[in-house]
Symmetry: C2
Subunit: 568 residues, 2 copies
């Protein structure tokens, strides 16, 4: 490919809106361009990278017997309504209505539709298990698209679906996908770890995310420093040593706390540490009921855990009328004496005495004993934090940021039961399919590769996903000898199966080298008047500091040998 | 690929809704399945065909220097509004609005967006010409989706775009694409002819369609039996010999025609042939004006030509109030004496005297002379028909049905002027890009291949696009020797690069052969107890009547040799 013809120009400076190193480099190197907030076009250079990423995924899906097909982008509303996701997904999806009034969703995922196909194509257990996948555009109406391809509003996802006759079969399919994912990310050059995750909008119980740990990630991951426990904070738990129950705790008595409405202020004012208090949050759940969430004063509630508990896509805090309805007083709300609220107690709360709001202006209660002075369901809604103990081994937990590049869900019969998607089982009865789904975002993977493979000058592509193997630079292209030598080498390399971007532009050495560093092709080859004096070409790997001279005679074989040695 | 694992089952009978031979076979052979009216999933077998078709297109696009990229499915409204297509395309597109109230269209084509990219990436004439393309899902809210993949509401299209500095450049790009299209369809096994076509929603003047002539087509094509004139009837014209003007025609006089309101009835009643009458249609144009269209009584109006003339996506006939407003009387309307209507006269109307409606109940006028008794613009709005004369050579025109598998448009500066998409020209001024666009529908191509490559038993794939090269049948698979021999052959074939569908199902010979004929893979290989007695495998090309026995020793090389000999 001649660079003079390549569509897409490099930028000296990143656009002001670029938020992360990968976002900046992706735009500067002409990998992709936005057409609207969160909507991107792959320019030719980025398209080549995206196709290499897809091909790695395709090969690993095929290797485990997963079959490629292609479902449409627009999906009819009825199956979404059968599973209840038409309403649940409304806030983050795009809808359209055709001219006959029929509703469609721009596909979010395809669980409903692959179940429809399974109902039609699979008559008996003898056709099970099977797995299918496709690469298809997905729409997500993100309120805040973020950092380029890390969180876009349209993106191509590889989504795969497994269908088994029973849970043991699902376990095998899930493990096969898990293994394929580990190979896929390794082949892409991504150091992705598998972490336990919440099932969210997918349903079911067991789910893992593949996370690449990097500061630009939005997710927070708990990792045990001792064992292999790894979990998204949406799902992470911790070991809590139960303190012995306090004995002879006197009944609660009020203390005057005029104008003191925060745990910090109370802690300072009373000279007692934050963990001696209870904090009580009033929220509404999906059914409109008022819920009081009780936590120790030193712990934060986890938003994702609360959302799941309350069955809501976003938290709804109680309003003034709600406070009045349950007898709560803002700033002085506590679990004792609330009327008609559902009380949930985080399991961080210990069986000892606490100071809590008195539901009375300027007043708190001391000697509040959970279980004696108030009742509630015990739940896990607190955020795990650095230094907490691992739920599995008791080791120290660390918290890191990560980008979720893939996720896998074992949802079992969650969809098949709702959709009456059954097959004729070996025992002659009809049974629901037992399924899982398995996603990888292409654009996010590509940008995560950039986020984790760059230096101050530009991208440093892992060879497996690089848009070209070699970047050949003629300096200057106006010199007939240089051009002839460069084009002879180009022809020999292409003949030998090496994909080359040939910089045939009439630009200065500075511009060409800066572009080569920015674009980040693994091998830079320079033919110049200086190298021709030595009958050589300069070879500089992008990831190496030093260049070497390689004799032109045999150069193409030498370079093809390097390329053949790369991981596939 | 083992057929026992293949997702998608063949159907003995076509679903009742199937409309054409290709539609029936596409469904029966598990090529694709509908998810809603006009929305299809490619099942694994069909997916393989679609990808082969895409790969042929990709290779031919790359060969002419067209670069692959990928633009999104959802496209923001603003650029569509700049070109006026937001409103114009409303009736046949899908729209959505995000949660911030911003409007999007499910992409119809991408002219507007590729111009946006050109504005950003192309600074100077030195970067011209360039061509880019992508494969992307398109949405068309067809009121009547038809015949499976022939007219779907979502489909993947390859759309390419050329950008040149001037019309001479566009002409070169257009010719390069025209040549690529000819190679593409020939490689797919489609006998597509290039015909002149209307530019419709694309704008511009010059356009061609690639049409495959088949009775299942929706389009009607005029072909000259003498020269190479070929045109879609939407655009076709004919040579009209102008009759000498009539002299001494008396002034119009009324004739009583009580209750006679059709040309046929008038012709019978008065004993005068249909061509002696004028028929007058009253319609409304895009601006709401009433238009009287005057044609000879023996010619039909062309709907597409009228739509174009009136600037409307569908025809709107005049209502009672419109008749009253211009003084027309239903059944007796004529061009003489209409008040306030825009009159257009088809150029089939000759300068002689005619019988026409008198705009008075039960009355016609004889001796109506165009140009004397009424005035109007002369236009071409009649339908060309079999036996008309070629506009180019005067030869006889034939009318055939066709499926449009591709189309190319030279729209010039139609978009760039509306969007102010300019580049710095060699003379230092800013000039608008000169462009063309070039589309091929993947699904329609695949089904058209089936429509034109099948027999009474099933599909007969051209080898270049077949899902597999060979269909290996073990009969019965329960026989250990048969299975061992079949699987040894399978391994040898795959080792030799031959893609094989291996029928390892426990089914009867009848079922397996019927499926093989239905699916239509080019080479059928049968290993049975009978062939093993001869140490042979039976080889039967799908397109041939006879089978032959091939010794198992060397069979894989023999078959690989056949496959290597196929056109690529």
């Amino acid at each position: 490919m001649r660079q003079s013809l390549l569509f897409g120009r490099t930028l000296r400076e990143p656009p002001a809106e670029a938020q992360t190193p990968g976002h900046r480099l992706m735009l500067r190197a002409a990998i992709a361009r936005p057409l609207a907030a969160g909507f991107y076009t792959w320019l030719p250079l980025g398209f080549r990278v995206a196709k290499r990423v897809e091909q790695i995924i395709r090969e690993e899906m095929n290797r485990i017997g997963c079959q490629e097909l292609e479902m449409p982008v627009l999906t009819p509303a009825e199956p979404w309504k059968e599973t209840g996701r038409w309403d649940a997904l409304e806030p983050i999806t795009f809808r359209t209505t055709d001219h006959n009034g029929r509703e469609f969703m721009v596909s979010y995922t395809h669980e409903e539709f692959v179940h429809l196909h399974a109902k039609q194509e699979i008559l008996s257990y003898r056709q099970l298990p099977f797995m299918v996948y496709h690469f298809q555009s997905k729409g997500r109406d993100e309120a805040r698209p973020r950092a380029g391809l890390l969180r876009a509003r349209e993106f191509v996802m590889k989504d795969a679906y497994s269908f088994d006759a029973d849970m043991a079969g699902l376990d095998r399919s899930y493990k096969a996908q898990h293994g394929a994912y580990a190979r896929i990310f390794a082949r892409m050059g991504l150091d992705a770890i598998s972490v336990e995750s919440d099932t969210g909008a997918m349903g079911g119980d067991i789910a893992h995310e593949f996370q690449v740990l990097t500061e630009v990630g939005e997710d927070r991951i708990a990792l045990c420093s001792n064992c292999d426990y790894r979990a998204n904070l949406e799902k992470a738990t911790r070991r809590i040593e139960q303190a012995p129950g306090a004995t002879n705790v006197p009944m609660p008595t009020p203390i005057a706390t005029p104008g003191v409405t925060t745990i910090d202020a109370l802690s300072d004012g009373l000279g007692v540490k934050a963990s001696a208090f209870l904090k009580t949050l009033l929220l509404r759940d999906g059914g409109g009921e008022i819920v009081a969430v009780v936590l120790p004063g030193d712990r934060e509630a986890s938003e994702p855990k609360l959302r799941k508990l309350l069955g809501l896509p976003t938290l709804r805090f109680a309003n003034d009328a709600d406070f009045a309805a349950v007898g709560g007083v803002a700033g002085y709300v506590g679990p004792v004496g609330l009327r008609g609220a559902r009380v949930v107690i985080d399991r961080s709360v210990q069986p000892g005495s606490y100071i809590a709001g008195a539901n009375k202006r300027d007043t708190h209660l001391r000697d509040v004993l959970p279980g004696r002075d108030f009742q509630g369901e015990w739940v896990d809604v607190h955020d795990v934090r650095e230094g907490d103990r691992c739920p599995r081994c008791g080791g120290r937990l660390e918290i890191r940021r990560g980008v979720e590049v893939g996720n896998i869900f074992a949802y079992g019969t969650y969809y098949s039961e709702k959709m009456n998607a059954t097959f004729l089982a070996e025992d002659g009865t009809r049974k629901p399919f037992v399924g899982g789904s398995y996603g990888i975002g292409i654009g996010r993977s590509v940008q995560t590769i950039i986020e984790t493979h760059h230096d101050e000058k530009g991208i440093v592509w892992p060879p497996q996903v690089a848009p070209f193997a070699a970047h050949l630079i003629a300096l200057p292209v106006s010199d007939a000898d240089v051009r002839a030598a460069a084009e002879a080498l180009l022809a020999a390399l292409e003949e030998g199966g090496v994909e080359v971007l040939y910089d045939d532009r009439e630009e200065s050495a500075g511009v060409k080298f800066a572009d080569a560093d920015l674009i980040g092709i693994p091998l830079r080859l320079t033919v110049s008047k200086r190298t021709l004096k030595e009958r050589s070409v300069e070879l500089k790997p992008r990831a190496a500091a030093a260049a070497e001279l390689v004799p032109l005679a045999g150069a193409s074989e030498h370079i093809a040998g390097i390329v053949r040695g790369w991981p596939k």
